[in-house]
């Protein structure tokens, strides 16, 4: 592993929303990974980080850069979970609060965006929490 970092994200912490993604993007810029791959990673990380803040009770983000340049990000929160993942993946579906919408979030495009830009995408969820793992390789 070249790099591994862990961050904690808090529920409704709008002020800091996106800071983890900014940090991840900065670190990636020092690795020699191409700008277009970094862009994909940044976009997915940002959407997933925001989701944790606006939809979950909080959780952790783990960021890894492996020796072969593969990047993985894992988002693990502690609930309340996504009752119907298939529905959550539909473009435009959103349960975001008014407060989140006022901040520019809640267009229901986050999960579809994440899926579209990532090379590996797996999500599981129960009332105990949601686990999202995404991976990226150079294209």
């Amino acid at each position: 592993m070249i790099l591994t970092k862990e961050y904690n994200v808090k529920k409704n912490d709008f002020v800091n929303a996106g800071k983890v993604s900014v940090e991840v993007k900065r670190l990636l810029k020092e690795t020699g990974i191409s700008p277009s791959t970094i862009r994909r990673i940044g976009i997915a990380c940002y959407e997933a980080e925001i989701n944790m803040i606006i939809h979950s009770l909080g959780g952790d983000i783990t960021f890894n850069v492996e020796d072969d340049g593969k990047v993985t990000l894992s988002f693990d929160d502690v609930g309340p979970g996504i009752p119907d993942i298939e529905r959550a993946l539909v473009e435009g579906f959103s349960t975001a609060s008014m407060e989140a919408k006022e901040m520019g979030f809640g267009a229901g495009m986050g999960l579809p965006n994440i899926k579209r830009v990532s090379d590996e995408f797996s999500i599981s969820s129960s009332s105990e929490g949601t686990h999202l793992l995404i991976g990226f390789v150079e294209q």
């Binding site: 940044g42 976009i43 990380c45 979030f105 267009a107």
Partner: protein, 121 residues
């Protein structure tokens, strides 16, 4: 079109500029939205010469723009820009401006002068 010219068309004021050289950089496209995910969905049509227009005047707008490698942000309707916003721009190395125009008028003005939209399909 040079950033200077775009700012003139938009009647825009400089709020924070990291690097004055940017005023002589050329921009060809514009994207306008208040929905951050709509902006983040632009990845496919990534373009370095993009002006991002938004009415969403908060640090998240910069963080979104950073993810897209966009460096030129214009807030419309002369929104109040406070210290936290300027701090966020400094931290991220952003150039940002504000225009008294509405989002629609800002877009029309730029469109009339040849600035193009992005084909998102």
């Amino acid at each position: 079109m040079k950033a200077r010219k775009i700012l003139e068309i938009l009647d825009a004021k400089q709020v924070f500029v990291q690097d004055e050289d940017m005023l002589d950089k050329d921009y060809e496209y514009c994207f306008a939205t208040d929905l951050m995910s709509d902006a983040l969905a632009l990845i496919k049509n990534h373009n370095e010469s993009l002006v991002f227009i938004t009415g969403l005047c908060n640090p998240q707008a910069f963080r979104t723009a950073m993810m897209l490698d966009v460096d030129f942000v214009v807030f419309v309707r002369d929104k109040h820009t406070d210290e936290t916003l300027i701090e966020a721009a400094k931290d991220l190395g952003f150039n940002f401006f504000k225009s008294p125009k509405t989002m629609f008028d800002a877009c029309v003005c730029l469109g009339n002068e040849g600035i193009k939209g992005l084909d998102i399909n």
